[in-house]
Amino acid sequence: MNQHSHSLPASYDAAPLELTRRAWPWPLLTLLLVAFVLIPVLGDDYWLNAILIPFLILSLAGLGLNLLTGYTGQTSVGAAGFMAVGAFATYSLLLRVPGLPLPLALVGGGIIAAGVGFVFGIPSNRIKGFYLMVTTLAAQFFLEWVFTKFPWFYNYASSGTISAPRLELFGYDLHSPLGRYLLVLTSVVLLTWIAVNLVRSQIGRNWMAIRDMDTAAAVIGISVDRHKRLAFAVSSFYLGVAGALWAFAYLGTASASSFDINRSFQILFIIIIGGMGSIAGNFIGAAFISLLPLLLNQIGQGLLSGMVDAGQLQNLQKIIFGMLIIWFLVKEPEGLIRLLANLGERLKAWPLRF
């Protein structure tokens, strides 16, 4: 080490090329191939409707919240409120702007949600930590109230619900489970790609710097307030799109109560379990949250049906689910993604561990 010379090389042609050249991401490409080709061919309607569509949308919502909470360090318990904004805004755009293509309506809904998120992010200039969390709680209740109180948002329907006015793209009807699955998958892939770009960019580094030590970030020249508000806006954009997809591609018919505080907690659990400050963690967390109850249900019915009554069985599942969450968090507070990474490291060395 010590015999290194200290002069800066005039040009640095050799190393950075080696370092920046990327290998083809084969595992990712395989995954995309499976998602776009294999699943549409093999998957049945139940799998698409009940498992894959909600899993993907929850992953997207987790991604949105993770940008704000995991990357920028601003804890929010108002995620579902911003999902509601996206859902109701997209509904309004589809209903009131004739001929507006579906992708534009989704983006429009996301932008409106981003605007609302930006406004609710303004207090983050002054309020930090626990207190900021309470303002996001206020946002959650306020937004839920707005979409219940003012009938304009649900077009004066007596039921107080919204359903997709039209779900089509270039003349193709997307009402079939496969159509909705492909719509959701495409949205998720595009937005995930953008999120990866963002967190690897200077903006992402500024966010993480603010998360780790906001005073130091300010002194070295990062505009802290602006980047916090940006994080609120971008996060709400993702949540807004996720909310619109949740309402129209999964539920079909939604109301303000589809986006209640429980949904917010669900999204927060996804990022805590999956891994804060990780993109892949959102998918793993969403898989855990949406698939494990189904699995427990199957196991419970297989093993205990007849012996325990159905209501008790449901409660038992919730208890086991809660205990599993606690167990995972005790084992690895940084989430399942860290657990998997450690496992991967160990497998690399296996069987020659020493």
Partner: protein, 260 residues
């Protein structure tokens, strides 16, 4: 060219600063020539850190002004100071603990980012080009400060001395013309101090960076700097070359203690 002949890069002119009536700095003037290593020494509470905080705009002096590269400032904003080429490290490391060494270095370039939000979000060629340039600068710094083996290690997991080096690198990556180091060797053992001194000398010699540093270890100061300013209770009690300062009776009584 010896620093003694060069023009001043920085002039502190009759600066005073007080906190709730307590004078931290009292009518202080001195100048730093381009290319020199200037050490600020003095007992705890002498106003050394406060002075650095004025120089990079964290504090605003009650009176007096700072002249940096012939421009006069009363109070300069930290962002402005950084943009004009004043870099800074802190007494207690102000690093981003969960981020990697490489990412920490790159945050030093945040205020130099030209590409906008959409360019970065969509990975447009402009943003990619800029990212590549930034990465090259970071790689140069990693090599210069011998930090390559820890490139992708979270800074919080590094030893203290290495963290100090990362902080130096974060200031250095923006290519400052004036580098303010607040106790760069605090808490280090002799070997680490030696290594850090070598880096500071190399930065000064190879990159032509003017350095103003605060240091308590008098042996390090005498070996490293070619200009020493001695502060005591916010006043200047000595100013000159290390040998001049060492033989100044007022300095000896204020800082080094009375001669036995």
């Amino acid at each position: 060219m010896t620093p003694q002949m060069a023009e001043p890069i920085l002039q502190v002119q009759a600066i005073s600063l007080s906190f709730k009536g307590v004078k931290a700095i009292n009518d202080l003037s001195f100048s730093v020539r381009r290319g020199e290593i200037c050490a600020l020494i003095g007992p705890n509470g002498a106003g050394k850190s406060s002075l650095l905080n004025i120089l990079n705009g964290v504090y605003r002096p009650d009176s007096g002004e700072v002249v940096f590269e012939r421009e006069h400032f009363r109070g300069i904003h930290p962002l402005e100071a950084a943009r004009r080429g004043i870099g800074r490290t802190f007494q207690n490391n102000a690093l981003f603990k969960k981020m990697t060494v490489l990412d920490n270095l790159l945050t030093g370039l945040s205020r130099h980012t030209q590409s906008g939000f959409f360019a970065q979000a969509l990975g447009l060629p402009r943003a990619r080009h800029e990212a590549r340039q930034f990465r090259e600068r970071a790689e140069n710094i990693l090599e210069f400060l011998e930090l390559q083996p820890w490139r992708s290690v979270a800074v919080g997991k590094l030893a203290y001395g290495q963290q100090k080096r990362v902080e130096l690198g974060r200031a250095l990556i923006a290519e400052p013309r004036l580098l303010l180091l607040d106790e760069p060797m605090a808490g280090m053992n002799a070997e680490e101090k030696h290594e850090m001194s070598r880096f500071i000398l190399d930065i000064n010699r190879d990159l032509g960076t003017t350095v103003v540093l605060i240091e308590h270890d008098i042996k390090v100061v005498m070996g490293l700097s070619n200009h020493v300013v001695v502060l005591d209770y916010g006043r200047k009690v000595g100013d000159g070359t290390p040998t001049e300062v060492q033989s100044n009776p007022e300095v000896i009584s204020a800082y080094l203690g009375t001669v036995h």
